[in-house]
């Protein structure tokens, strides 16, 4: 019988146990074997000490869109940290733990005392196996990894490969002991009885012609920047956006790009706008606190019509908030933040591949419409891994800022044209001399407080953006699920769309007619396609990761129709099971009303 593999394995330990490291090897090996993988690690907020680390990996034979709300397998490298997570293991799920921990444990401190009836326990003397295999107890993590691979009969060489790749730059002895520990664990796993409740069957079907790569959202943003030929980057470190700058710092100088770490976010956006004004493909990256500081300068970008790309990865707020937890609460700031009527373009990808596409297209759009473009993601999307199949690296259009008319005498930098886009010249071009300014100005760029000029220019700056909704090579909205009229429609954005789609698929299996739409372009808002979707749905649910329903409010302000908000601000991604329940409830309500009528 064809069996669809879809299991989630969580490895839990304390900082120093090598939890994230073996999680990383696991997901890379599984991607290499040909599974679709999606993974999200949780780190402790503190740098030092023994905080909790969890590496969660979902492995499936067909495409999956989010993490599951539960785990099929939990591996404990540290019982104190793992005990609170026993409850997330499903009925008949497996728990793998150390049967012979380092020291005597207090009553209730061993995980075996916390298993639920129906959990399948695998007690493995990890420390002893590690000592026997390597002469030290430090390789418990590899013993556990080997056990998982052996138990579920996964190809050993894929893991050997991934381990060797991980320690490529380390001393040979490191790889050797990791492999030895892995192999001993593998042997133990292969010798253990595998209950059929958790199975990992071989991937089916053709392998993609493109190489599968494991990539995070931040990694994909970097790839998009490089594929689009980024030239300059200015940034200031902040979680969870730092990874973008760190990765670009390695890659850009190799590709003729220049990167400077500035003194703060105001300087970062200022320099990026300076570089954009000078004709360079320029970007910066930050999170909510940095975006707050950037708003005044973004307004200058809008007013002086300068292309620049701003990557924003949201975390919990307000203020310093929850630096290591996810949230979607900077939508208001990204779309509306700052003074004056300063509309810019905001793109919010929903998955890792989308991060690359939006990053690359953002440069094109910024140049074409001469405006700052924000690419808005969140910690969950920045840090989660997905298997991606990279397409053509030359898909993005090269830089194209050439003026539509020949500059020279009487050149008008801010000429009022039919589409609102004026001929742009950059320093170095004779005949294009002008002064860009944040003051309201006439077509030549000369300051003007004439009321007619102000209304014409304001209109120009807004109207020129409407055409961005038709920019090729990117879906600014996309509908999934049942076509035509449906009982329940889910409408959401950003990382939350994955959970919404999973919930929709489950609800469909229960016989509920439903559909889901993602909205990738938040500003300007794709009113028409969203309205069309709205009209097809009896009920509209808007799930998102914030308290005030920022996307729902944007939606209702754009389409002036009511929606049901599902706002959730715990710092964690949405729970798929809760969403399914909300869909059921909405469908019941609809059916009751339908029957009564």
């Amino acid at each position: 019988m064809a069996y669809d593999t879809d299991i989630q394995i969580s490895i839990c330990g304390s900082a120093g146990d090598g939890t994230i490291a073996v999680g990383d090897i696991f997901k890379r090996a599984m991607a290499h074997i040909g599974y679709r993988v999606i993974a999200f690690d949780q780190y402790p907020a503190e740098i030092r000490g023994f905080g909790k680390c969890i590496a969660r990996t979902r492995v499936a034979t067909s495409r999956v869109y989010s993490m599951k709300g539960y785990s099929d397998v939990l591996v404990s490298l540290n019982d104190l940290h793992a005990i609170p997570h026993v409850g997330e293991v499903r009925n008949y799920g497996a728990l793998i733990y150390d049967s012979a921990p380092m020291s005597a444990v207090a009553e209730g401190a061993h995980i075996s005392g916390h298993l639920k009836p129906g959990h399948i326990p695998y007690a493995l003397p990890m420390r002893e196996v590690s000592e026997l295999a390597t002469g030290a107890n430090r390789s418990r993590n590899f013993v556990a990894l080997g056990f998982v691979a052996g138990l579920y009969q996964l190809p050993q060489d894929a893991f050997h490969h991934a381990i060797a790749a991980k320690f490529e730059s380390k001393a040979a002895a490191v790889t050797k002991s990791a492999l030895a520990a892995f192999d001993s664990g593998f042997e133990a796993g292969a010798a253990s009885y595998q209950f059929d409740d958790v199975r990992i069957d071989a991937p089916r079907g053709r392998k993609s012609t493109h190489e599968a790569r494991m990539m995070t959202g931040n990694g994909a943003i970097v790839q998009g920047c490089l594929d689009a030929g980024i030239e300059t980057f200015f940034g200031y470190p902040i979680t969870p956006a730092t990874g973008i700058m760190e990765h670009l710092a390695v890659e850009m100088p190799r590709h003729g790009g220049r990167l400077v770490q500035t003194e703060d976010e105001i300087a970062a956006i200022s320099a990026a706008i300076g570089a954009g004004y000078a004709g360079s493909r320029a970007a910066t990256a930050t999170s909510g606190p940095g975006l707050s500081l950037m708003t005044e300068m973004m307004g200058l970008g809008v007013m002086a019509e300068v292309p620049v790309v701003i990557f924003v990865s949201q975390r919990g707020g307000p203020s310093t908030g929850l630096p290591t937890k996810t949230e979607q609460s900077d939508l208001n700031l990204a779309v509306w933040g700052g003074h004056g009527d300063a509309r810019r373009i905001v793109l919010a990808p929903t998955n890792v591949e989308g991060c690359r596409r939006c990053a690359g297209r953002a440069f094109e759009i910024a140049e074409q419409f001469q405006v700052p473009v924000i690419v808005l993601v969140d910690l969950y999307l920045s840090n989660r891994y997905e298997t991606v199949f990279l397409q053509d690296e030359n898909e993005f259009l090269p830089k194209n800022w050439k003026p539509a008319t020949t500059p020279g005498a009487g050149y008008r930098r801010y000429e009022l044209t039919t589409d609102g886009v004026s001929p742009r010249c950059i320093p170095g071009e004779a005949g294009g001399i002008h002064t860009a300014t944040g003051l309201e100005h006439d077509e030549y760029g000369n300051p003007s407080d004439n009321s007619g000029t102000h209304s014409l220019m304001t209109q120009k700056r807004h109207e020129k953006l409407q055409a961005a909704i038709k920019h090729p090579g990117i879906n600014f909205t996309k509908r999934f699920g049942d076509s035509g009229k449906v009982e329940v429609g889910l409408l959401t954005w950003g990382s939350s769309f994955g959970e919404a789609l999973e919930a929709m698929l489950l609800a469909q299996q229960e016989g509920i007619r439903c559909a889901a739409m993602k909205v990738v372009m938040l500003s300007p808002f794709p009113v028409r396609s969203v309205l069309r979707f709205y009209k097809d749905c009896q009920q509209i649910l808007v799930p998102e990761l914030n308290y005030t329903g920022q996307f729902a409010k944007l939606l209702t302000s754009e389409i002036a129709l009511p929606v049901t908000r599902i706002s959730h601000a715990t710092g964690a991604p949405l729970d798929v099971a809760n969403l399914v329940e909300a869909i059921r409830r909405a469908a019941r309500k609809h059916r009751r009303r339908h029957n009564a009528a």
């Binding site: 030239e231 300059t232 200015f234 390695v250 100088p253 190799r254 590709h255 003729g256 220049r258 400077v260 500035t262 003194e263 703060d264 105001i266 300087a267 970062a268 200022s270 320099a271 990026a272 706008i273 300076g274 570089a275 954009g276 004004y277 000078a278 004709g279 360079s280 320029a282 005044e296 300068m297 200058l300 002086a304 320093p427 170095g428 071009e429 004779a430 005949g431 294009g432 001399i433 002008h434 002064t435 860009a436 300014t437 944040g438 003051l439 000369n446 300051p447």
Partner: protein
């Protein structure tokens, strides 16, 4: 001083036209008050660019917000009139994007040392190859006369009606300690001196900081006036050694009788050169 020979206006106008420096001036008439010290710079910078044969399309004048920052509109070069306090980071971005450009940042004392104070040390320590001309009138001109971080103690303004009690900054000492590789001071009342130093500042490879003492004739009738400055300024000692940082700092400490001239100059790697080195180490093109 009474000239020996009479100077005729037409001759002077002809001479200016022929010099080519008017090419660098825009059609816009400066919006400054008659007598404002800022007029000196339009002339000074146009002269220097002309003498150095720098093409105007390869010149970008970047400013913040303030009376002084209105300057780019009066030049026929590329210009960017940015935000209050942000001329330096914008100028840095422009230079990083295109090293071929001559980038000049201009602003007032409030723009530079109050709201923009956080950017100066970093432009200086990175040795961005730009010239920063800061007009210090000890007051906020554009917003009509408030106290500034370089206002003297005892100075009365609309926001210090009972006299300023905050000690003024010493910009020259700050720039010297920030690592600026070229630091000079001039006075708007000495336009020839100013023009000479602007030219030297432009020629310096690296970050050059030119401090210009400049009266605000409208909002300061008592303190930094032409009369007072004419009496107190002097030239740097003729034996001043501009390669000696300690000596430069000593000279900068004398605020009672401000000395004009080149305080300090040195040569070191610019930001552009540093970024080229980074590219080499990263194995660019490989």
């Amino acid at each position: 001083m009474i000239p020996q020979q009479p100077v005729y206006l037409e001759d002077k106008v002809d001479e200016i036209r022929q010099s080519g420096r008017l090419d660098y001036r825009s059609q816009a008439l400066p919006t400054w008050c008659p007598g404002c010290g800022y007029y000196s710079v339009t002339e000074g910078l146009a002269n220097a660019l002309n003498d150095l044969q720098i093409e105007k399309e390869n010149t970008v004048v970047v400013s913040g917000i303030g009376c002084a920052s209105r300057f780019p509109f009066f030049m026929d070069t590329y210009g960017f009139h940015t935000l209050h306090g942000r001329a330096l980071p914008v100028a840095t971005g422009i230079k990083v994007a295109n090293e071929k450009l001559t980038v000049v940042a201009i602003g007032g004392d409030g723009d530079g040392f109050a709201i923009g104070g956080g950017h100066i040390p970093h432009a200086a320590r990175r040795n961005v190859d730009i010239t920063y001309i800061l007009f210090d009138n000890g007051i906020y001109g554009l917003t009509k006369g408030q106290v500034s971080p370089t206002s003297a103690i005892g100075f009365k303004t609309s926001t210090s009606p009972f006299e300023n009690r905050d000690a003024p900054l010493n910009p020259l000492l700050m720039l010297l300690s920030y690592g600026a590789s070229w630091v000079g001071q001039t006075y708007a009342g000495w336009p020839h001196h100013l023009a000479g130093l602007v030219q030297q500042a432009l020629e310096h490879p690296g970050f050059s900081y030119l401090h210009v003492l400049s009266p605000c004739v409208t909002f300061d009738k008592t303190d930094r006036t032409y009369q007072n400055l004419d009496l107190t300024v002097r030239e740097l000692d003729s034996d001043h050694d501009s390669s000696d940082l300690a000596l430069a700092m000593q000279a900068a400490s004398d605020t009672r009788s401000p000395a004009l001239g080149l305080y300090y100059t040195s040569q070191r790697e610019t930001l552009g050169q540093a970024l080229d080195q980074v590219a080499l180490r990263a194995g660019a093109g490989g």
